[in-house]
């Protein structure tokens, strides 16, 4: 029964048939990144594990300060140190533990096998260097190309990210481009060495909505064309629904839920995910023809706890409508609640099957 439902969904959306990825390219295993500050230990990433299949798109979702970006920086070993330190776990790229690599080996991996796109396209490009040379830099560095070869490849990459007149654009400076164009240039830079994994850290946050859609479309299209696996970090569940196959939900440095994207949307098993989902305005409310018009948009009460002062029990308990004594006393186990659907909540059973409208 469940299988047929899944199959129907898959064929409806035209997405790849969902299956546990056989061919894992990147494995994050019990990663712990702590920040040692005056206020105490900040557990920015605590015991986070996930796997990324070849060519898969994985979404990491959570609100600001939940550890999404630090997870990404930890994979590339770019956590600012001090105060940050990766204190435990493993990050395996095709079986090779990146945390054991020395700095030289890491530099070979960054930009070459794992690339990253940042939030701020306006300032992520160097204002005094032409975009062609900036794209070419990684190629000269990692592929040993000559200046001329790199420039030709840069033009090719600009055409690939659909920047018009790439021959002219390649000689221009970042201030001559719009925000959306700069993010395209960043994508061109990140993909120029044909990396196995692309980490996109809120790639559309600084852009306006119409441009956001174009950039996401571009990332998905290039991912399919080049076979790159993508980790998409975002706080926008709409973005996740459109682009990813599997989603990891993080809260206060911990992974609280992981599931296939449709499963997660239809059947959230953690109250935090449920809260996130119900704080999205539904189309009925927007169009005004539903009986729900009078209904207020639900919000999650309270605030994210300070990461240096987490409660003993579930970090979400103070904000959770289902919280009881057990939640406050002990952290819930992270368990598989249904096939391929993991969650860390004492009350997942009560939540399960509750379909969000």
């Amino acid at each position: 029964m469940v299988d047929t439902v899944n199959e129907n969904i898959a064929s409806d959306t035209g997405a790849e048939p969902v299956a546990v990825p056989q061919d894992t390219i990147l494995e994050v295993d019990r990663l712990q990144t702590y920040f040692y500050t005056r206020g105490g230990i900040v557990k920015a990433v605590d015991d986070v594990s996930f796997q990324l299949g070849r060519g898969e798109t994985l979404g990491i979702v959570g609100e600001s300060g939940c550890g999404k970006s630090i997870t990404a920086l930890s994979i590339l070993r770019l956590v600012p140190s001090p105060p940050g330190r990766i204190i435990g776990g493993e990050v395996r790229l095709e079986g090779r533990n990146l945390l054991d690599c020395d700095e030289d080996e890491m530099r070979d991996i960054r930009g070459n096998e794992i690339s990253m796109i940042f939030q701020e396209p306006m300032t992520s490009l160097n204002p005094v260097i032409t975009i062609g040379r900036q794209i070419g830099e990684a190629l000269i560095l990692h592929q040993g190309m000559s200046q001329n070869e790199a420039m030709e490849k840069a033009i090719e990459m600009l055409a690939l990210v659909r920047i018009p007149e790439p021959q002219q654009r390649v000689k221009e400076y970042p201030h001559q481009l719009s925000g959306g164009m700069r993010q395209r240039v960043m994508i061109a830079m990140a993909l120029s060495c044909n990396p196995k994994v692309l980490i996109a850290d809120e790639p559309t946050t600084a852009l306006d909505v119409t441009i956001q859609a174009q950039i996401l479309e571009l990332i998905v299209e290039l991912k399919e064309k080049l076979g790159t696996a993508v980790i998409l970090i975002t706080h926008d569940l709409g973005v996740v629904a459109e682009t990813t196959q599997r989603v990891v939900v993080m809260y206060a440095g911990k992974k609280v839920e992981e599931a296939e994207v449709l499963d997660l949307f239809q059947n959230p098993m953690h109250p935090y995910t449920q809260g996130l989902l119900s704080s999205i305005p539904s189309l009925g409310i927007l169009s005004g023809d539903s009986s729900q018009v009078e209904e207020r948009l639900t919000e999650i009460p309270g605030m994210v706890p300070a990461l240096n002062d987490l409660p003993v029990g579930c970090a979400f308990a103070p904000r959770c409508p289902y919280a009881d004594d057990q939640c406050i006393a002990a952290y819930p186990p992270y368990e598989e609640r249904s096939s391929g659907h993991w969650a860390a909540c004492w009350h997942s059973d009560k939540l399960g099957g509750r379909t969000h409208g």
């Binding site: 992520s124 204002p127 005094v128 260097i129 830099e137 990684a138 830079m189």
Partner: protein, 298 residues
């Protein structure tokens, strides 16, 4: 009552319709007439230095007892000194020395300052701490006093004069570059470069250094004129360029006390040369600063 606005005049003032290198040059002259004047003066000195052998009517080192202390006339346009050497020729050849010292020490001091500033600002830690304290000490001494000490300990020669003047120029450059580097190293494009697998050295040279060049150019033009002036002062005190090479400062010092009343041309013309050279480079430097600093535009 709205004031009538002459659109064409406003556009011309803003530099619209400026085409090509020549047009841009003419616009610069109209917009910064003083800077253009400074540029012309500086250019004259550069030309004088390059073509000194052609322009100078006499050998600047040739003595002529018969012409000793002769007043300006047709053969000696600016008169002759005590040994009968032509002042005009000596001033033209002196431009070589002044420019060599000015440009040489600015470049040397600037290079050292940029290296120290970049390393301090990027590496931080103990290197920064030690370097900044050394620079504190250097900054506590006036430029001339330091140059004096350096020149006295190195001995008089052209190279030593350049070195002596360049050392006191380091602190200011190092401070400016360091403060710029401090803010630039936090820019997202540095993080992006790290994510592309670039080494720290490469990031410092390829990404941070080019971004610090605008303030450096402004500072360097200001230092050029103070280097020329310091050379004149050193030579005036007998510590700069040795005899018999014509240095403006030495020409002044040789004649100031003895001949200022009897042969004033020996004092006036080198004095004018020094003043003009400093004035010219200062005007040019101000214009470049205005041009590079958007906040100064109006």
């Amino acid at each position: 009552m709205a004031a009538t606005i002459d659109h064409d005049a406003e556009l011309a003032k803003a530099g619209a319709g400026v085409e090509g290198k020549w047009g841009a040059f003419l616009y610069f002259c109209r917009r910064y007439p003083l800077g253009a004047a400074g540029g012309v003066i500086s250019l004259l000195f550069v030309l004088a230095a390059i073509f000194a052998d052609v322009i100078a009517p006499h050998d600047p080192l040739a003595t002529n007892a018969a012409a000793s202390l002769s007043a300006p006339d047709q053969s000696f346009v600016m008169g002759a000194d005590m040994m009968g050497r032509d002042v005009y020729s000596r001033i033209i050849h002196g431009a070589r020395i002044s420019l060599a010292v000015g440009i040489g020490s600015t470049l040397l001091g600037g290079l050292l300052g940029v290296i120290i500033g970049l390393m301090s600002g990027y590496l931080l830690g103990w290197f920064d701490l030690v370097m900044q304290r050394i620079i504190d000490i250097m900054q506590a001494l006036p430029l001339l006093v330091m140059a004096l000490v350096m020149a006295a300990s190195l001995g008089p020669s052209l190279e030593n004069t350049i070195i002596a003047i360049s050392i006191p120029l380091i602190p200011q450059v190092a401070r400016v570059i360091r403060s710029n580097t401090l803010s630039l190293r936090e820019m997202p494009f540095v993080e992006a470069a790290q994510a592309l697998g670039m080494s720290e050295f490469r990031i410092a040279i390829r990404h941070i250094l080019p971004n610090t060049m605008a303030p450096f150019i402004v500072l360097a033009t200001a230092q050029l004129s103070s280097a020329i002036l310091t050379e004149a002062s050193l030579s005036f005190l007998g510590l700069g360029i040795p005899e018999p090479h014509p240095s403006w400062g030495r020409m002044l010092s040789e004649s100031a006390a003895e001949y200022v009343r009897t042969a004033p041309w020996l004092v006036i013309f080198p004095g004018i040369a020094i003043s003009l050279a400093v004035f010219g480079t200062n005007l040019l430097g101000d214009a470049i600063r205005d041009l590079l600093d958007p906040r100064q535009r109006n």
